[in-house]
Symmetry: C2
């Protein structure tokens, strides 16, 4: 009796749920968008009150310019991974972001760069950690993915690999910028007796890009100069697949920015995908529950950008601001501050 009742109810429920699913899909899915792209230039204590008009204009202008490059490539049917590389290269070449040219200094006065990339179709991935001579770290990560059997190469070994496979290398002095050097001096002056003190302002800064192309392929990439005054060859989440970067054509492409240790411990990028795949969460729910729920509760500050297989875009953060921009070919958005602050 129980079994018959159960079977009948399951059938009714399946019929009912089917209707509900269709309704949700129509509601959640943006009307047929040709593509989707989101970029970030780091999350942190970015307040309008602390920003000059010139700096705000400079950031807005480069976010706009980078987004336009991505949009044009995607309109011309470029592959997601090529768009991720091109967009991140432009941001790495700008001194405004903590990646490539604008990388912060470690405690020895050196610039140590990390980057990673992943494609959603095959879930192939590549990453480099702690390199000092690769002009565009995202190209180093791409070379690891495409020209080695490995995922993560580090330090001198990664530098040697880059030279052998023809990635553009450069003298480390290229990464010197006065602004970042002054940040290091301030960080050293503020350093307390224990060598472990980290001023929250020196934890952040990353660039990233996530893309859904016209063929339905997802890709994600992240690049960073790490923490100002960084010690002990620390590696954050940016070159860690599953923590700072993740892409799976079945679900979503993610690039994170924030206090990397928390993003590693909670496998943040993979966790968004898992909430969607196993928990049937929408992208919005997954992002909200993790970034503004669990991470806030645990003390992990930062944000992420995400594009799912249906072209939905989310750019949640639990810090004061996050340099960010997005477009799906229909709507575009450029933002710096959070809800508490006027855009």
């Amino acid at each position: 009796m129980k079994n018959t009742l159960l079977t009948t109810c399951l059938l009714v429920l399946m019929w009912a749920c089917d209707s509900v699913d269709t309704a949700n899909e129509t509601k959640n899915r943006p009307s047929e968008v040709p593509y989707a792209i989101a970029i970030h230039g780091g999350a942190g204590t970015i307040l309008k009150a602390n920003m000059t008009a010139e700096m705000e204009a400079a950031y807005t202008q480069i976010l706009d310019s980078v987004l336009t490059t991505g949009e044009k490539m995607l309109e011309a049917d470029a592959d997601a991974v090529q768009v991720v590389i091109e967009v991140i290269k432009i941001m790495e070449n700008s001194p405004l972001f903590n990646a490539g040219k604008g990388a912060v200094f470690n405690t020895k006065g050196e610039n140590e760069l990390d980057a990673s990339i992943m494609i959603g179709e095959t879930q192939e991935a590549g990453a480099i950690g702690g390199v000092r001579n690769i002009k565009n770290p995202i190209e180093g990560a791409y070379a690891v993915m495409t020209k080695s059997e490995h995922v993560l190469l580090t330090g001198k070994g990664a530098e040697q690999f880059a030279v052998e496979v023809g990635v553009d290398t450069i003298d480390p002095s290229y990464f010197y910028t006065q602004r970042r050097y002054e940040s290091l001096q301030r960080a050293k002056a503020e350093e307390s007796g224990t060598s472990m003190y980290i001023n929250p302002d020196y934890k952040y800064g990353t660039v990233g890009c996530v893309v859904l192309d016209q063929s339905g392929n997802l890709a994600a990439g992240t690049s960073t100069g790490g923490m100002t005054n960084k010690k002990y060859n620390r590696i954050g989440d940016s070159p860690i697949i599953g923590a700072g970067t993740y892409a799976d054509n079945n679900t979503v492409a993610i690039s994170c920015t924030g206090h990397g240790e928390y993003f590693i411990r909670y496998a943040v990028a993979h966790d968004i995908a898992a909430r969607m795949e196993y928990g049937n969460a929408s992208l919005k729910e997954a992002c909200s529950d993790l970034v503004n729920g669990k991470l806030v509760e645990k003390g992990g500050s930062g944000g992420l950008i995400a594009v799912d297989k249906d072209g939905n875009i989310e750019m949640p953060f639990n810090t004061e601001g996050m340099y960010r921009a997005s477009s799906n070919g229909v709507n575009r958005f450029i933002g710096i501050y959070g809800n508490k602050d006027a855009e």
Copy 2:
């Protein structure tokens, strides 16, 4: 009408599912076990046909001895994390396993060690990658977790950190063993023209331990010497939280072994936890679907050990064998080969 029918059915279904769940729980959950521990010494092409009686006896003996150490500590109410460290230290000190004393050689004839540890209660974690002077890498990982604000330190920086915080360091010549040096010579002789060729036999070898203690706390740890003939400061999954190691008191503690690149790309350790947390999979289902399902399909060979919050133990692998042992204070198991081969 549809809503009324749906509500009624949902109520019936909840009542039915409740009965089913209870039944499953009774079936799946081991009768009140005081604790649970599993250890591994690496997965790979381990065939009875290739093993001498002496080697088999040596591996069985050390697995038994290590397991006994863990059991005694757990009976005496030791913390999960302390058991993980002690068990892994014994395996690191043995030349039989590819970790610590028995670490394989990289292409330069050096031993580069990786390790990680995570505790389930706070989800704190620590890891070291590519170090050459830390006698017991698992102690280095534990020091990163407990004495720094970081999760992952690498290379010379990690070595410097170890010295500063008093972790036991040693001259790198300590890690020389004739057996592993001969493996390197064979690997070099087999190397093809392209520097990227990797003989499958040289990919494997790791040790790990996962524990549920009497207080209900989970912990996981992993330690390895990496790949024989390894180039470019490659880092595998062992020091990557979410890939090779993961622990969360809400679900499970995991330590992986195998072709590390696949374990990174699929965030294997975190994926087991996510399948349980978001998909309500049992530990057995999660392990089976991932290790013998998805990983086999994608070509990722290896295995893992897992202990969940209820004391269930799984030790799945898709290779010919995996050195492994487990105990829950009631039943104990020691194994080397797979089902195809007689134990």
